[in-house]
Symmetry: C2
Subunit: 350 residues, 2 copies
DNA sequence: TCCAAATACGTTAACGTTAACCTTGGATGA
DNA sequence: TCATCCAAGGTTAACGTTAACGTATTTGGA
């Protein structure tokens, strides 16, 4: 904190008014003369006064913080959600407090505990999977809790998300529709990577629904899966299931890694092998060939989450019938299948 | 903030002790009996008490916040710096406050102003370019100011960065070394994208140093340049300077976009055209061919910045001779050239 | 002309926690 | 046996801002 901090008291003395008048000068308060306000503001400039939000927040019992907990910021999808969320909340005067779990539920619990001490107005978590203690903390926090990027079977409170399993089924349907049958899955098997695991489960379910064997499962390492791991997984897949005609990947980085491995081996995509990803990363739209993928609408998630929070915290909002309990809000995000070059043209059975 | 907040006062009443004793129970304070502490902690659990850091921070005049201002979080390089920085600072009990400028100096100024009101312990900015008012705000903030990801000619205070111009010269040297002469540059021309512009300037200077013409400059759009813009820029370059044998790109996304455009056109990289990027993104290490690039050591920047902050704020640090003014610290990060497949083998003049 | 209402301030107390200092009842040692 | 010390607490006041309320002074309408 600044060593020599000029406070409102100093300003008041210099302007020969009360501290309250100074306070009013910095607010949209009409019960202060225009000239007085201007004089105080000019004086503030001169004395180098900086408004102390921490004191104001403390006094008002309102921090204007929103805690956002995510696995990692080093992921284009999460980054986009956070970008939009932060920007939108900033418009409402709120500041996001970011925390990273490193894909560990234990760290998530510790983070939630820490975050709650900062008295945020709301807390946003990624995924619907938490430790029992984390759930308890969230439930008793007394502030809006929003789970995102998932469609929890038993939500804590509000939800802005989608079913990863369903989205993957969209990919499988697309491949089956194009005539593919011998389909492998790359990714998601390890420990705390619940989104990856849910995508794998969705793959298995979708294959079963089509009467196809879903035993071509190739794991990648613990989350986050890198492009390199995608390449390695494809190599492993070719070794174990050489007659595979299409691969569904748990993420675009995995898919792109797999694509590069094909390029190195002279395997033509999609002629010899089709590849589908997940996430609609920038790379999917420009790689050669372009990757078929699922767009989970990360900016939509960020936007809807921000707007939900602003609405929940808006004191001027029209109270519903039951004054205190409006009930949790569940916003389902519509993922979009983006069919592209890497899963080829529809040409009968393959 | 939680509707019904249990305070230390409530806890004190329940435990039949003074508020101060409760406070001590939550600190590493030895002047409290082990049994009393345990009793209070258990009671806290029961009553659902949550420690209020905002009050503690206010009372202590210490927020444990560090403001970090960057162009965008949706950039793997910045994201990595922030990831490491946040994680490292969290070890010291500090929380990062993130702000995004969207590559606009005007927004940077507004952000700095807002951030300073939160009374952070230190402020980290990206780049050495600021509006005059922003500079003034930083200089008078009374807290450590660290400029990163750049090597400012006139630093505000501390610096953890590198010269983008020099780094690009490393790329040019590498290309010239491999025998390339007709070299184009893609990227960096627009408004507030100073890092891109500095890289372009570095390119021009390096070419001049080698006695080569540096007139093959192809701009991309305003920052951040996308892969798609990289592809478009390459197309434009081929049109304008068809005899080009190598392209230096202001970033890896641009370089990868250019690479895909080559693939689509049947241009063999590096046989027909060499491509070099900047940033050592994941994609550079796995694309086919792999991209020659510059690693600006983003995690190193984050780590060194975090450690610098922790050291500057550590009250137990040995005071230097002059008690108050140690003088600004300038940490130069060593970028690394990563030569790879996209700039081919050294085979004489091209 | 006179009173009510509006305008432009000032006063008081409080938000939850903690540094600094004070108090008490043993234990310790000579 | 008594001064001394320590462990384990308690008291007081303060961090900077603002909601709520109080008080002059001016304004305007009948």
């Amino acid at each position: 904190m600044a060593r020599t901090s000029v406070t409102m008291k100093d300003l008041a003395k210099a302007a020969d008014v009360s501290v309250m008048t100074v306070s009013r000068a910095f607010k949209a308060d009409k019960s202060i003369g225009a000239d007085t306000r201007e004089r105080i503001l000019r004086l503030a400039e001169q004395l180098g006064y900086v408004f102390d939000s921490t004191a104001a927040n403390f006094r008002n019992q309102r921090t204007d913080f929103v805690s956002v907990i995510l696995p990692s910021i080093n992921n284009a999808n999460f980054a986009e959600t956070v970008d939009v969320l932060s920007t939108q909340l900033a418009l409402g005067g709120m500041q996001v407090l970011l925390g990273y779990t490193g894909y560990s539920l234990a760290r998530e619990e510790a983070l939630i505990d820490q975050m709650l001490r900062r008295k945020p107005e709301a807390i946003v978590v990624t995924g619907g999977q938490h430790t029992p203690d984390a759930r308890k903390l969230l439930a008793k926090a007394g502030i809006p809790v929003i789970e995102t990027w998932d469609w929890p079977q038993d939500p804590v409170q509000h939800v802005v998300g989608f079913s990863n399993a369903e989205a993957i089924q969209g990919v499988v349907d697309h491949l089956v529709d194009r005539g593919y049958a011998r389909i492998s899955f790359l990714g998601g098997e390890q420990g705390d990577d619940f989104r990856g695991m849910e995508r794998r489960a969705g793959f298995v379910a979708a294959m079963a629904r089509h009467g196809l064997a879903a035993d071509r499962l190739v794991p990648t390492g613990p989350a986050p899966a890198s492009m390199k791991e995608g390449a390695a997984a494809l190599a492993l897949m070719l070794d174990r299931f050489p007659d595979t005609r299409a691969v569904v990947c748990a993420s675009d980085p995995i898919a792109f890694g797999a694509l590069t491995e094909c390029q190195r081996r002279g395997i033509d995509v999609p002629r010899d092998l089709a590849i589908a990803g997940f996430g609609a990363y920038e790379i999917a739209a420009i790689s050669h060939p372009r990757l078929t993928t699922i767009d989970p609408m990360p900016s939509e998630i960020g936007l809807r989450t921000a707007n939900l929070i602003l609405r929940l915290l808006d004191p001027t909002a029209p109270e519903p019938e039951a004054p205190e309990q409006e009930g949790p809000i569940r916003i389902r995000i519509d993922w979009k299948l983006i069919p592209s070059e890497s899963t080829g043209e529809s040409t009968g059975t393959r």
